[in-house]
């Protein structure tokens, strides 16, 4: 069971991210709990400076943007502590699965 958290103060993009994540979870049949975190102190505790951010099993996978469905799928299916933010992973820039 994955613990998924969406960090964001309720802006339009945060809602987009939450919807995109829920859609991927439903489509893939992933077992996960999704929680929206709007409390500033909690958001800040993750060391995130730009919202929306996606946290999977306690790790920040992506911040400041809404990733594509493919990226979200990759983030949700990665093994714990191996989730990739994909920020710099476009093209073949990322090799042998190094993570941010």
């Amino acid at each position: 069971m994955k613990q998924v958290k969406i960090l964001g103060s309720g802006c339009a993009k945060c809602n987009q991210l939450a919807e995109a994540v829920r859609a991927v979870i439903a489509a893939e049949g992933i077992e996960a709990s999704v929680e929206k975190v709007e409390d500033m102190q909690e958001i800040v505790a993750y060391g995130v400076m730009s919202t929306p951010a996606l946290v999977v099993d306690g790790e920040v996978c992506c911040k400041g943007r809404v990733p594509s469905a493919d990226e979200i799928r990759e983030m949700l299916s990665a093994a714990p502590h191996r989730c990739c933010c994909g920020d710099h992973a476009k093209g073949s820039g990322r090799q042998n699965g190094t993570c941010c």
Binding site: G47, G91, S92, G93
Partner: protein
């Protein structure tokens, strides 16, 4: 390409960057050719429709047909470039550059970095705290917080498109001055006791200020530029069309110097009045600029119009409410007051120079 060494050495990526290079060169050529023929095309369109340029309807329509593509094209170029620039300057990188900087140098750097760092007003609070955590002084943080929303690429591109590069450049330098001055003043006032308690506790708590630099390729950067264009255009194109249509209507029908008495140079009170009206208002640059163009076309003073625009973009009631989570009311009042005074001074300066 001179930056070839930045690419990973596999053939697939080189081919990809070659494709990008060719595509961008073609796009640039197309852009320049269309840019040079915009006016001719507008005249031709008016002729084809069968209208007279010297009559109100023809004049208004020509203004619209010429202005909309011109502004959109400039926006396209500037927003793409800024999307690419954003891949070089993450908020984390900016933070580590500003960490521990002194008042003065720090404020100037913060204001300048505010232009190029990707920023969304909805993450103003986490960014604010992230900066303070890493030991960026309060005044320096405020310089960034003033400059980032006020001097953005959409505002600059639209000013450039509608009033020429001089006005865009002047807006940028005046905005930088306001941001630096406001940050220095707030820094000197020692306002730290007016941060909320939980924020004070976090100050200087993780002064490392590290950030990751992944292997970033040029195709990735260009891709980000395209993404940025899509995002911004989806949000602002309608404002621009509506705004220019409004401007065109005024252009054709409202009498010359209609606004001169209200917002002209002679009425000294017009600058503070414009700022007072603008502060609580919230709009993006795209929404407000065409209105300003229409006002200017009818005799409102440039400084007054610019001050109005700055106050609408830089300060707003929703932003104050968000900041209330980290600042006590007194610091919010000081912040709004200092920035408003700065904008009023800049407004007078604009009026004197033009």
């Amino acid at each position: 390409m001179e930056d070839g060494r930045r690419f990973r050495g596999d053939g697939g990526l080189n081919r990809q960057s070659l494709l990008w290079g060719a595509g961008l060169a073609a796009a640039l050529l197309l852009w320049v050719v269309s840019w040079l023929h915009l006016e001719t095309a507008a005249d031709l369109a008016i002729q084809v429709i069968g209208l007279d340029r010297s009559r109100p309807l023809g004049s208004a329509l020509r203004f619209f047909i010429y202005e909309v593509p011109k502004v959109l094209m400039l926006l396209l170029a500037v927003v793409f470039a800024m999307g690419v620039v954003h891949t070089f300057v993450s908020p984390e990188r900016t933070r580590s550059l500003l960490s521990g900087r002194r008042t003065g140098v720090g404020n100037v750097m913060a204001a300048a970095l505010g232009i190029v760092t990707p920023f969304c007003s909805c993450s103003a609070v986490p960014l604010f705290i992230g900066f303070l955590q890493a030991g960026v002084p309060l005044g320096v943080t405020f310089s960034f917080l003033v400059s980032a929303p006020m001097i953005n690429e959409v505002a600059l591109a639209l000013l450039f498109g509608m009033f020429g590069w001089r006005v865009a450049l002047l807006y940028m330098s005046m905005g930088l001055m306001v941001a630096v001055a406001a940050g220095v003043v707030i820094g000197k006032l020692n306002m730290e006791p007016y941060l909320e308690e939980w924020v004070r506790k976090l100050q200087n708590s993780s002064p490392g200020g590290e950030y990751e630099t992944g292997a970033v390729t040029w195709p990735y950067r260009f891709g980000e530029g395209v993404k940025h264009v899509r995002e911004i255009f989806g949000r602002v194109w309608l404002f621009i069309v509506l705004g220019v249509a409004l401007g065109a209507g005024i252009h054709g029908y409202v009498p010359e110097n209609f606004m001169a008495a209200l917002m002209g140079e002679k009425s000294w009170w017009s600058v503070p009045a414009a700022v007072l009206v603008g502060v609580p208002m919230y709009s993006n640059a795209a929404g407000i600029l065409p209105v300003i163009e229409a006002l200017l076309g009818k005799g409102a003073a440039l400084g007054t119009a610019m001050a109005f625009m700055m106050s609408v973009i830089a300060l707003s009631a929703p932003e104050m409410i968000i900041l209330r989570k980290v600042l006590k009311p007194r610091l919010i009042a000081v912040f709004a007051g200092v920035v408003a005074v700065g904008i009023i001074m800049v407004g007078y300066l604009f009026n004197m120079l033009f």
